[in-house]
C-alpha cells in the first residue's frame, strides 16, 4: 500500500506543478515558481529514491494499476505502472537530471518574460517522461511518448515570435509523428498477435516463440521506426539539430539526457522481442552505426556550439543502438546513463557560455574562456574527457562495453565503431579548445561582459561533473576489479533474453586490454591533433572561413540531407497537393457535379414549358433519374 502510494506520487508531483503553474501562469510570482517547479521534481526524486532503496532486484516486478483506460472485451488497457529495475533506473535518471536542470534553469531563464510558461512546460515534460518509462503496457508508454513529443514541440518553439524556431518545433513534431505511426502499427500487430498490449503478457508469450519468427520481425521493425523517430536515427534524425532552437536547458534535458533516449529504453524494454528477431537486430545495428558515423562526421565541421553537441547526441544514440543490436542491453543502458550525465553537463556548460556571451553560439567567436569561466571550463573539460572515452571517466567504461560487445559480434563492426570514437574525440576536443583555449575572438563589448555564471547554474554543473566523472563506477567491469553493479541490478529484466541469445565466448582479458589500448591510443592521438590544430596552429578560427575541401563543404552543409528531403519528399507532396486540389478537385469532380446540376436546371426549364404540374417535384425526379443512370452505368 505504502509502495503503491509512492509509485503514484512520482508522476503526480510534476503533474501538479504543471497544473498549478498553468492555471496561475499570470499571477504566480517568479520566486514562487523558482521554488515550486524544481521543488516538485525534487519531491519526485525523493519518492524515487525511497522506492529505489526499498527495492531489491530479486523481487518480482510490480504492476500498480490506477484505473482502466480503454476497455472493450479482450482489449483491456489499464492505466498502470510497472516498477522493475529498468524503470527504476530510468526514473532515477529522469528525476535526478530533471531536478538538476530545473535548478539550473532558474538561473538561465531569470530574465525571460515567459518564466512561468517555461516551467509549466518543463514540469509537463517530466510528467510525460515519467509516464513513458513507468507505463506497464505499450499504450501508456505511448501516452508519454507523444506527451514528450508535445513538450518538445512547445519548448523548441518556446520563443514563438521567431518563425525559424517555430519551424524547427514543427519539424520535430512531424518527424516524431512519422515514427509514431510506426509505433502505432507495431502496437496493433502486437495486439493481433498476442491479444494483449501488456508487457508481461506479451513478453511471456513471446518467450515461447522461435527466433526469426516473421511476425516478431514485423513488430520489432515497426516499433523501431518509432524509436528511430524519437531517438533521432537515420532517416529521421534531422529534427534534432534544428531542435537546438529551444532554450539550452531544454536541449540538455529533453534533447540529450532523457526524451531522445526513449527509443533505447523502448528496445531495451522489449528486449525479448528483439533478441528473437535477428533480422531486426541487424537493421538496428546498421542504422545505429551509420547514424553514429554520419553524425560524428558532420559534427567535425559544425561551428555552432549547440549544433555540435546535437550531432554528438545523435552519434552517441547510434552507439547505444549498436550496443542493443549486439545484444548488450545492459551496455546500452549503461551508456544511456553515463551519456545522460556528461551530455547534460555539456549542454549546461554550453548554456553557461552562451549566457556569458549574451547569446553567441558560434565557437569561432569564442576562445580563451577558461580564465573568465573557470568552473564552467573545468566541468566542461570533465564532460569532454568523459565523452571522448578516456579512463577513468564514465564514458570510457560504458563505451568500452559496447565496443567489446561489438567486437564479439563482428570485428568489422568494432573497426567502424572505433572510427566513430576517434571522430568523437576529435570534434569534442576541437569544441573544447576553440571555446576555452587561446585568445578571446569576440567583440570588445562581449569581452567586457564575460563572467562566470551564478551559483544556481554552476552548482548543477559541479553535480553533473561528479556524476560524469565517477558514473562509471555503477557498472565497473570485473576486468577493473569492479562488481558490474548495473549488470546485476538489471539482470532480471534481461535474463530471458540472455538465455535466448547465442553465447559467444567472452573475450579473453588479453584481447580486451589490447582493444582498449588501441582505442585509447587513437583517442589520445585525436585529442592531441585537435590541440595542435586549434590551439597551437590557430586554424579554423576565422568566422568567415570558407570551406576549402570537399569534405569540409559537405560536412558544413550537413551532407545536404535537409535539401534532399526537401527535394524528394516535401516538394513532391506539395505538388501532389496542388494537383489534387486544382486539377482533380476543381476541374474534374466539381465540374462533373456542376455539370449534372446545370443539366438538371436546363432540363427543368424545358419541362416547365411542356408540363404545368409541380415543377419542383419533376426537377427532383429528374435529378434522381440522372444520378441513378450515372451511377448504375459506373457501377455495373
Amino acid at each position: 500500500m505504502m509502495m503503491n502510494a509512492i509509485v503514484f506520487l512520482i508522476p503526480l508531483f510534476p503533474l501538479l506543478g504543471f497544473l498549478v503553474l498553468g492555471a496561475g501562469i499570470r499571477v504566480i510570482p517568479r520566486k514562487v515558481t523558482a521554488l515550486l517547479a524544481p521543488g516538485m521534481i525534487l519531491l519526485s526524486l525523493i519518492s524515487t529514491l525511497v522506492l529505489f532503496i526499498g527495492f531489491h532486484p530479486s523481487t518480482a516486478s510490480q504492476v500498480h494499476q490506477l484505473f482502466s483506460w480503454i476497455r472493450i472485451g479482450p482489449l483491456d488497457i489499464p492505466f498502470a505502472f510497472l516498477i522493475d529495475p529498468l524503470s527504476i533506473l530510468m526514473l532515477l535518471i529522469v528525476t535526478g537530471i530533471g531536478f538538476v536542470i530545473h535548478v539550473y534553469s532558474v538561473g538561465y531563464m531569470k530574465e525571460d518574460p515567459g518564466f512561468n510558461r517555461f516551467f509549466s512546460y518543463m514540469n509537463l515534460f517530466v510528467f510525460s517522461m515519467l509516464l513513458l518509462v513507468m507505463g506497464a503496457n505499450y499504450p501508456v508508454m505511448f501516452i508519454g511518448w507523444e506527451g514528450v513529443g508535445l513538450c518538445s514541440y512547445l519548448l523548441i518553439g518556446f520563443w514563438f515570435k521567431n518563425h525559424e524556431f517555430n519551424n524547427a518545433a514543427k519539424k520535430a513534431f512531424i518527424m516524431n509523428r512519422i515514427g509514431d505511426l510506426g509505433f502505432l502499427m507495431g502496437m496493433f500487430l502486437i495486439f493481433t498477435t498476442f491479444h494483449s498490449l501488456d508487457y508481461q503478457v506479451v513478453f511471456d508469450h513471446a518467450r515461447g516463440m522461435t527466433p526469426g519468427n516473421p511476425v516478431l520481425a514485423g513488430i520489432t521493425l515497426l516499433l523501431f521506426i518509432g524509436a528511430a523517430g524519437k531517438s533521432a536515427q537515420i532517416p529521421l534524425y534531422t529534427w534534432l539539430p534544428d531542435a537546438m532552437a529551444g532554450p539550452t536547458p531544454v536541449s540538455a534535458l529533453i534533447h540529450a539526457a532523457t526524451m531522445v533516449t526513449a527509443g533505447i529504453y523502448m528496445v531495451a524494454r522489449s528486449n525479448i522481442l528483439y533478441i528473437l528477431s535477428p533480422a531486426t537486430m541487424a537493421v538496428i545495428g546498421i542504422t545505429g552505426l551509420a547514424t553514429a558515423l554520419l553524425a560524428a562526421f558532420i559534427a567535425i565541421f559544425q561551428n555552432d556550439i549547440k549544433k555540435i553537441l546535437a550531432y554528438s547526441t545523435i552519434s552517441q544514440l547510434g552507439y547505444m543502438f549498436v550496443g542493443l543490436s549486439a545484444g548488450a542491453f545492459t551496455g546500452a543502458m549503461f551508456h544511456l546513463t553515463t551519456h545522460a550525465f556528461f551530455k547534460a553537463l555539456l549542454f549546461l556548460g554550453a548554456g553557461s557560455v552562451i549566457h556569458a556571451l549574451g547569446g553567441e553560439q558560434d565557437i569561432r567567436k569564442m576562445g580563451g574562456l577558461k580564465q573568465a569561466m573557470p568552473k564552467t571550463y573545468r566541468t566542461f573539460m570533465a564532460a569532454t574527457v568523459a565523452i571522448a572515452g578516456i579512463p577513468p571517466l564514465s564514458g570510457f567504461f560504458s563505451k568500452d562495453e559496447i565496443l567489446a560487445k561489438a567486437f564479439e559480434y563482428s570485428p568489422l563492426l568494432w573497426v567502424f565503431a572505433v572510427a566513430g570514437s576517434l571522430m568523437t574525440a576529435f570534434y569534442m576536443f576541437r569544441l573544447l579548445f576553440l571555446t576555452f583555449s587561446g585568445d578571446f575572438r569576440g567583440t570588445e563589448a562581449k569581452r567586457a561582459h564575460l563572467h562566470e555564471s551564478p551559483a544556481v547554474m554552476t552548482i548543477p554543473l559541479v553535480i553533473l561533473a561528479i556524476l560524469a566523472t565517477f558514473g562509471g563506477l555503477i557498472n565497473l567491469p570485473a576486468l577493473f576489479g569492479g562488481n558490474a553493479g548495473l549488470e546485476y541490478f538489471l539482470e532480471p529484466v534481461f535474463a530471458a533474453s540472455g538465455s535466448v541469445a547465442a553465447h559467444g565466448t567472452p573475450l579473453p582479458p588479453a584481447t580486451q586490454w589490447l582493444l582498449m589500448g588501441v582505442t585509447l591510443a587513437g583517442v589520445l592521438a585525436m585529442a592531441a591533433w585537435a590541440w595542435k590544430r586549434y590551439t597551437a596552429q590557430h586554424r579554423g578560427l576565422l568566422p568567415d572561413d570558407a570551406p576549402r575541401t570537399f569534405a569540409e563543404r559537405v560536412g558544413r552543409n550537413k551532407i545536404y540531407i535537409d535539401e534532399l528531403y526537401q527535394l524528394v519528399v516535401v516538394r513532391p507532396l506539395m505538388w501532389l497537393s496542388k494537383f489534387f486540389y486544382e486539377i482533380v478537385e476543381l476541374r474534374f469532380i466539381d465540374r462533373i457535379v456542376n455539370g449534372v446540376g446545370s443539366l438538371v436546371v436546363r432540363t427543368g426549364n424545358t419541362v416547365r414549358y411542356i408540363q404545368t404540374g409541380n415543377v419542383g417535384f419533376y426537377m427532383f425526379v429528374m435529378i434522381l433519374g440522372i444520378i441513378l443512370i450515372l451511377f448504375f452505368n459506373i457501377l455495373i
Binding site: K161, I174, L181, F188, L189
Partner: protein, 482 residues
C-alpha cells in the same frame, strides 16, 4: 416518453421563437431553451440502463395502413448522438451571440428546428420517420447557409442541395422498395426492415442507394465537393451544425440501417466502399496541406477524419465500430471547437486567410491556449478524445487489413502537418497590422469553449463511460451485419 419530449421540445421552442421580437429576450429564451433540452437529455441518460435494446420507447400509430408508425426510442448509439446534439446546440447558440444576424428570430428558430430534426433522425426506429426527419434536417441547413452565408452562397447552396437531395431520394426509393419486401403486413418498423427478404441482387441495389445517400452526407470521397464550399460559405453557426452534428447522420445511417439491412451486400461491396473511404483520407489530407482559408483547411481535414470513421464502420470489427461511435462524438466536439476558434479569429481580424495572420498569441494568449487544446484533440494526442477514437479505428481496420490501416494512418502524420502549420501561421510568430491590437477572449467566449475542453479530456482520459454505453448495441448491430 422522454424521447418524444426531446423531439417536441425544440420544435415548440422553434415556433415560440418566431413570436419574440426583442433580440435580448430572444437570446435568453433560445439559450435557456437549449439548456433545458440538454437537461432533458441528462435525465434520459439517468433513466437509461445500459443493455442491448432500444429504450425510452415512444410508439403511436400513424398512417397505419401505409405501415408507418411513430416509433422513437434510444439505444446506446442513439443516446450518445442525442447527447452530442443537445450538448453542442447550446454552445453553438452561445457562440452566435457575438454576431448580429439579420432577422435573428428566424435564424434561431431554424437552428432549433434543426435540433429537433437531428434528434428525430437519431431516435427514429421507423424507416419512414428516419427519412422524414432526415429531410427536415436538410431544410434549415439549406436556409441558414443560403440566407446568412457568404458572398458565393447561392451557387454553393444549390450544389449542396442537389447533392444531398439526390442522395436522399435514392434512400427514399430504397426504403419504399424495402417496405414491399418486408413480411406481410408490410411496415417500415425497423425490425421488419431488418427482416426484409432480399435476393443478393436486390441487396446490392439497396446497398448502393443507401451508400450514396450516406456517403454524400458524411461525405465520402468522391461525393464530397459540396462540403468544403458549404462549410466555408456558411455562417459560423451553420458550419458548426453541419460539421459537428449533421454529417453524423450519414455515419449513423450506415450503422443503423445500411449494415443490418444489406449485410450480404456489405460483405460483397464493402471493400470497394472501403477503398473510397481510405482513398479519401489520403486525398483530403494532402489537399488540406496547402489550404489558405482556415475554414477550408478544417473542412478538408474533416473529410479525412470522417473518412476514417466511415472506413471503420465498413470493416465490421468491434474495435473499429466502437471507435467509429466514440469518434463521431469526438469529431463533433473538436470540429465545433475549431470552427468556433476560427470564428473568434475572424471576428477580431476580419479575415480567415492564414497567410494574413500571425502573432495572435501575443495579444490573445487565452485564445491561443484554447486553440492549442482543441488542436491536440483534433490531431489525436493521447489522453485527448481524438486519440481514443483514432486508436480504436486504426486498430479495428488493422484487424481487417494491415495495409488499409497503414494507409489510413497517414492521417496521424498529415493532421499534425496542416494543423500545426495553421497554428503557427495564425497564433505564433510576430504580430502584424491586422493582429497587433486584438483582444483576448471574453467570459462569454470562454464559457462556450470550456465545456468543449472538458469533453476533450473527459473522453480522452476516461472513455469507459462512453464506450460502455455503446458497446451492447454495437455488438447487436455487428451480429446483424455478420
Amino acid at each position: 416518453m422522454l424521447t418524444i419530449i426531446l423531439i417536441l421540445f425544440p420544435l415548440a421552442l422553434s415556433l415560440a421563437t418566431l413570436l419574440l421580437k426583442k433580440e435580448q429576450a430572444l437570446r435568453f429564451f433560445v439559450l435557456g431553451g437549449a439548456l433545458i433540452e440538454f437537461g432533458i437529455m441528462v435525465a434520459a441518460f439517468v433513466q437509461y440502463r445500459t443493455s442491448c435494446h432500444c429504450q425510452l420507447l415512444f410508439r403511436a400509430g400513424w398512417l397505419t395502413n401505409m405501415g408507418i408508425s411513430l416509433k422513437f426510442g434510444m439505444d446506446g448509439i442513439s443516446l450518445l448522438l442525442v447527447a452530442l446534439t443537445t450538448f453542442l446546440v447550446p454552445i453553438i447558440i452561445l457562440s452566435s451571440f457575438s454576431h448580429t444576424y439579420r432577422r435573428p428570430a428566424t435564424f434561431y428558430s431554424l437552428l432549433l428546428f434543426m435540433e429537433m430534426a437531428l434528434v428525430g433522425v437519431f431516435t427514429a426506429f421507423d424507416g419512414m420517420m428516419f427519412y422524414i426527419f432526415w429531410e427536415m434536417a436538410l431544410i434549415p441547413a439549406y436556409f441558414i447557409c443560403a440566407v446568412w452565408g457568404g458572398n458565393d452562397r447561392i451557387r454553393i447552396t444549390f450544389k449542396f442541395f442537389i447533392y444531398t437531395f439526390a442522395g436522399s431520394l435514392l434512400m427514399l426509393v430504397a426504403l419504399i422498395y424495402l417496405y414491399f419486401s418486408t413480411p406481410f403486413p408490410h411496415s417500415y418498423d425497423i425490425q421488419d426492415l431488418y427482416a426484409a427478404v432480399l435476393t443478393p441482387g436486390e441487396q446490392t441495389w439497396i446497398f448502393l442507394a443507401f451508400f450514396v445517400a450516406f456517403a454524400v452526407k458524411i461525405p465520402v470521397f468522391p461525393f464530397h465537393t459540396w462540403q468544403p464550399d458549404t462549410y466555408t460559405e456558411s455562417p459560423a453557426a451553420g458550419s458548426m451544425l453541419l460539421a459537428g452534428i449533421m454529417l453524423k447522420m450519414g455515419i449513423y445511417g450506415m450503422i443503423r440501417w445500411m449494415l443490418p439491412i444489406c449485410h450480404v451486400a456489405v460483405h460483397r461491396w464493402g471493400p470497394a466502399a472501403l477503398v473510397l473511404a481510405v482513398a479519401g483520407i489520403v486525398y483530403a489530407s494532402v489537399i488540406a496541406l496547402r489550404q489558405k482559408d482556415m475554414k477550408r483547411l478544417v473542412a478538408y481535414s474533416s473529410i479525412a477524419h470522417v473518412g476514417l470513421i466511415a472506413a471503420g464502420v465498413l470493416v465490421l470489427t468491434i474495435h473499429a465500430m466502437q471507435g467509429a461511435v466514440i469518434q463521431m462524438v469526438s469529431h463533433g466536439i473538436n470540429i465545433v471547437g475549431l470552427f468556433l476558434v476560427i470564428d473568434l479569429v475572424e471576428q477580431r481580424t476580419k479575415t480567415r486567410n492564414i497567410t494574413d495572420l500571425g502573432g495572435l498569441a501575443l495579444k490573445a494568449p487565452r485564445l491561443a491556449i484554447f486553440f492549442m487544446l482543441i488542436l491536440l484533440g483534433s490531431i489525436a494526442l493521447p489522453l485527448t478524445n481524438g486519440f481514443v477514437g483514432e486508436f480504436l479505428l486504426l486498430l479495428g481496420i488493422f484487424e481487417y487489413s494491415a495495409l488499409f490501416s497503414a494507409i489510413a494512418g497517414v492521417t496521424v502524420i498529415f493532421s499534425a502537418v496542416y494543423m500545426l502549420w495553421m497554428y503557427q501561421r495564425t497564433m505564433l510568430g510576430p504580430a502584424n497590422d491586422i493582429t497587433a491590437e486584438v483582444r483576448d477572449l471574453s467570459r462569454v467566449e470562454m464559457a462556450a469553449l470550456i465545456p468543449l475542453i472538458i469533453m476533450i479530456f473527459w473522453i480522452g482520459i476516461a472513455p469507459g463511460f462512453f464506450l460502455d454505453t455503446a458497446l451492447p448495441d454495437v455488438m447487436t448491430i455487428l451480429s446483424y451485419a455478420r
